[in-house]
Symmetry: C2
Subunit: 372 residues, 2 copies
Amino acid sequence: MNDSIAVIELTPTGLRFLDQTRLPGEEVMVATADHRDVLEAIRALRLRGAPLIGITAAYGVTLAARAWCAAHSAPADTAAALTRTQDFLAYLHDVCESFAATRPTAVNLFWALDRMRCLLARPLAPEALTPEALAPESFTPEAFTAALEAEAHAIHDDDAQRCAAIGRHGAALLPRGAGVITHCNSGALATGGEGTAFAVLLEAHRQGRGIHVFADETRPLLQGARLTMWELRRHDIPSTLITDGTAAMLMRAGRVAAAITGADRIAANGDTANKIGTYALAVAARHHGIPFYIAAPLSTVDNRIPTGADIPIEERDPAEITMLAGRRIAPEGVHVYAPAFDVTPAELIAGFVTERGILAPPYGETLAAALS
Amino acid sequence: MNDSIAVIELTPTGLRFLDQTRLPGEEVMVATADHRDVLEAIRALRLRGAPLIGITAAYGVTLAARAWCAAHSAPADTAAALTRTQDFLAYLHDVCESFAATRPTAVNLFWALDRMRCLLARPLAPEALTPEALAPESFTPEAFTAALEAEAHAIHDDDAQRCAAIGRHGAALLPRGAGVITHCNSGALATGGEGTAFAVLLEAHRQGRGIHVFADETRPLLQGARLTMWELRRHDIPSTLITDGTAAMLMRAGRVAAAITGADRIAANGDTANKIGTYALAVAARHHGIPFYIAAPLSTVDNRIPTGADIPIEERDPAEITMLAGRRIAPEGVHVYAPAFDVTPAELIAGFVTERGILAPPYGETLAAALS
């Protein structure tokens, strides 16, 4: 967990999180004990960033488990107690489904939910929970809830450690005095630690490498302008905000030595989905002979998907492009194409910065080896 | 002049123009007889687009001439009358200077002002206006003002005709059923007629070629979202609004057969300055083997400038990136790089669509031949 930015925290009474849609104007902490508020927060991008979505969903499932226990008192009768556990498990599976339906692209969400589901399924399937098979006192909803809570904390803590490792491995990729372009937000506001691509920038800065970060504003939701610039300033990293269309001309002007972003899902061959505009950045980097890196924990790799063509791409509400701060910025009724992500093919990626080091091509082999 | 969109009109009492900063929400016509309002309108982008800036400046100079005449009554004495003309000419030269200082990149501004200045200078320099040399009644401020007004109208009408010719020449470049990407606004709102790149799209649509236009929103000032989408809808051209970072992925998806934009200044070798983000679009087009065209009247060519490296690039107020509709969208105090334009090198340009036809490489030769 990050010690300087309070992004998300499970407390005994509920979940507290920073509403990222209010940044940079206001730092508003939301507190809730209702997992439906967490579902809404993920859908509305109050919490976003592939690793952080997974952490948030794990905490949200924990809130649902707590609330179920509070609403359903334990019976004295053993058979009734196990029926209660079966009801609980069925409900929690539904809750996991509802979190899985919030956003389709970031695989970390499904990975975190799989960890939670696995824990629910581990003893036995609900129908096998009989008095004969099991000591019933170990299988109360309360026991499952405690295990879910511990798992959610572990998912969070694991990600923080992966972020730190990514930063350490990646910093050496950035030449001293380099201008480095990044896109969207991949920092503490996107992860359970100090970030993925952002952790690389932060570690290079802490090592005194004298880098200068150019942050794409990242239309339509301006996570670069609102969030990455906010994090860069908190860490006093020399930085400049640019529009997405400015990156290519900076490369041509010789002011950029590297580009690095996070990832929402990496296919088995290395094709990578990330925030819309990432592919354009990678194409520009290739045109100018500048290395383009992806920094991501290995939990972002989806081995079930052979290539980027199979990654589902979320389409967002056209109003995210036609409206801003309540003001209409395009005519009424225009047709809009609003993908949240694009896919950068593996051949444009100079390397993956992971918690297990830098992976080089051929990614089909190096990703598989790192995962094994 | 365009018959369907009232963009700018000189009337007997002043200048009426559409305030483009209010689009698409409101269609507000501004009326003024004060050329200082016109200077402000160019600086604030109430009127923008390389050809239209030139037309606007010519009308603005005319307003200044009219106002000077109204404020300075003609003396009966011949020598005093010529002194009055000398004062008028000196004032008008200053006015031309003030218009030339509004925006640095679009060469059409300087070209239009040169036509106006040339007309002021044609008889003789002010100091040579002596009773001996000239019949004084031909050299009244009122006579100059009438000539300036006629010249401004001619600049406007000439541009409208060039737009029509550009549309005719360019339409055949677009394959039937093609998806075509454009950037910024190059239509009636940017010119004295139906546009440059936009005229090509419009003519292809009128010919029933079944094109579909993808319009980059064009950060930071969203001329694509606000203005081009507004014009596309007025003409019922099938179209989709995208963020600037989406163009490359559409190309990769095979949905784009051509890209075409206008230009603010073209160097003698064909290097072309246009709205920031144009270069990124050209790079993406090259990466995907898609032709990238520039449509512009030959008045956009600046033969005094050998290459794009010498084109002055306007930097805009950082607030155009950090604020939107009065709301802060980036943290206070961040450093911003806000060039209004970038330069696309000639080697990325598949052809120039001009009023004299399509020019192919080598542009150093073909541009020079077209201009001669």
